[in-house]
Amino acid sequence: MEKIQIKLALTLALLISAFGLKAQNFDNAKAYQDYILAEQALVVNENIAYISKSLHDHKARQNEAERKQIVQHLEAAIAKVEAMPSFSGDNTLKEAAIEVFGLYKETYQVALKAAEATELSKQSPIAEMEAYFSLLAKAESQLIEAGKKFVKVQKTFDRTHKLAREENKVFCLFSEVAAVNAHCRKVFQAYARVSEHGKVFFEAMKKKQIESMEKSRSALIAEAETALAELQKVGGHNGNLEYLEKAKALTHFLRATAQGDFVEIIKINQSTQATFDDSNRFNKW
């Protein structure tokens, strides 16, 4: 569905460019601004699609093709806006658009390229995942700062040319997506740090490494305490508490398991006299 919308948006953008570039001048401030905003809407929509996907899908190769396509679209957008005339001698909006598209392009070529190079899997260590999230957060913040700059110039352009003030909806939408992503990352990371010790526990169990099992069990309980305290501070996102509550439920469950069943499992693995019942109980677990 989103792909269809993007294709539709692209077709419409091509139509605009066909119309717009033939026009030697834009004698209406609103039409002039709408042309630039339409270009911005197109690139921001692609930003949203890419950023949302990056949070949930860490397959570098797939993302690389999309990222390169976005860079090409940004280059085309820059070329189109560069070809525009000034509006009654006012170049500010045009220059701001060129600058913001340039900053978007730089983000895609540097920060997001670096994030893409971190190919994650379920087996990736937590440090790699955190590094990936940190690169995404940095890129999102760069895209927001670039957008804010443009919105500021847009406001001045509105005032100068006596246009009715309109909110830059696409930029607001992108900011909201970035805020949701930041919330998801914070909550997910708190839970993932706890879960990481669970993974270590099971790996140690396979190898019958009792000491390592006990170490990871204690670490899991301590990390769960930290995570629950952190999650308590995070709060919901715009009143939505569901994701946070589910993370807390998982963390409570892991802590309770480490405090109860893990102790039993260690005992069974430690014992040289484990009974058939012990093994059976453990197998059904």
Binding site: M1, E2, Q5, L8, A9, L12, A13, L15, I16, F19, G20, K22, A23, Q24, F26, D27, N28, K30, A31, D34, Y35, L37, A38, A41, L42, V44, N45, I48, S52, H56, K169, V170, L173, E176, V177, A179, V180, H183, C184, F188, Y191, H237, N238, N240, E242, Y243, E245, K246, A247, A249, L250, F253, L254, T257, D261, K284, W285
Partner: protein, 64 residues
């Protein structure tokens, strides 16, 4: 309930909540204005372009 079943259930709920959060915070319909914005801009530009094209063709016919 055993550990694996319970952890699987909680994880599924956690993932579902993540999807719900995104759809609540960023309603799908909000993606639509992009195409609409572009269509509106195109519609507004069309008369400007059309009038310029008309002026151009008038100038051309005068020259001819």
């Amino acid at each position: 309930m055993n550990y694996h079943r319970q952890s699987k259930k909680l994880l599924a709920e956690f993932n579902e909540a993540s999807v719900n959060l995104m759809s609540v915070s960023v309603p799908h319909e909000l993606f639509l204005p992009t195409a609409e914005t572009i269509a509106q801009a195109a519609a507004k530009l069309a008369p400007v372009v059309a009038s310029q094209a008309k002026e151009g063709s008038e100038q051309k016919s005068t020259l001819e």
